[in-house]
Amino acid sequence: EAAVTQSPRNKVAVTGGKVTLSCNQTNNHNNMYWYRQDTGHGLRLIHYSYGAGSTEKGDIPDGYKASRPSQENFSLILELATPSQTSVYFCASGDTPEVFFGKGTRLTVV
């Protein structure tokens, strides 16, 4: 079964600080995704990638950057974290509609 591992699982960051969320997948999927989940908004797509070296903007990319240095790894970067970015972030890999999700990272920006 596809394995998608996110780190850290929990993170507290200060406003204005830099935050990097990491994701690793072991199923050799080309496509990877970052979502955030918020009450009242469901899951929303931030960035996605077709493969190593590629990043594309999703529906809500403002304030986020992404990096895909290899097939296995896909990072989400908050250069200047804000309290509005407090959320649960999910990484996923695979070809839609059947994708595999990680367990999530709970980020709190104070």
Binding site: V4, N30, N31, Y33, Y35, G40, H41, G42, L43, R44, L45, Y48, Y50, E56, G58, D59, F90, A92, D95, T96, P97, E98, V99, F100, F101, G102, K103, G104
Partner: protein
């Protein structure tokens, strides 16, 4: 742009009951449809999908869904729920295999003994 609507925010059922979760979407072209389940504190897990062919598709753990083009719907059903089916269920659509999913807001299902 595709949108997904799940009309019920919360559904309460008893173990052994049947359940139907409604999903309606809007999109003008060909579309992938799917359902996911999220247990508390976990990531989402794929249940089933539809793209073409037989409008009734079977998924894991006794779930099935039926596509209706005329109603723009993809409702999820289970004939007899178990307490372990308590979770949040998300309907999702995608117009392209590599460009991510658009999710509904989810339906929380609470199963009581």
């Amino acid at each position: 742009t595709q949108t997904v609507s799940q009309s019920d925010a919360h559904v309460t059922v008893f173990e052994g009951d049947s359940v139907e979760l409604r999903c309606n979407y809007s999109y003008g072209g060909s579309i992938y449809l799917s359902w996911y389940i999220q247990h508390h504190g976990h990531g989402l897990q794929f249940l089933l999908k539809y793209y073409s062919g037989n409008p009734v598709v079977q998924g894991v753990n006794g779930f099935e869904a039926e596509f209706s083009k005329s109603d723009s719907s993809f409702h999820l059903r289970k004939a007899s729920v178990h307490w372990s089916d308590s979770a949040v269920y998300f309907c999702a659509v995608s117009a392209h295999y590599a460009q991510g999913l658009t999710f509904g807001l989810g339906t929380r299902v609470s199963v009581f003994p």
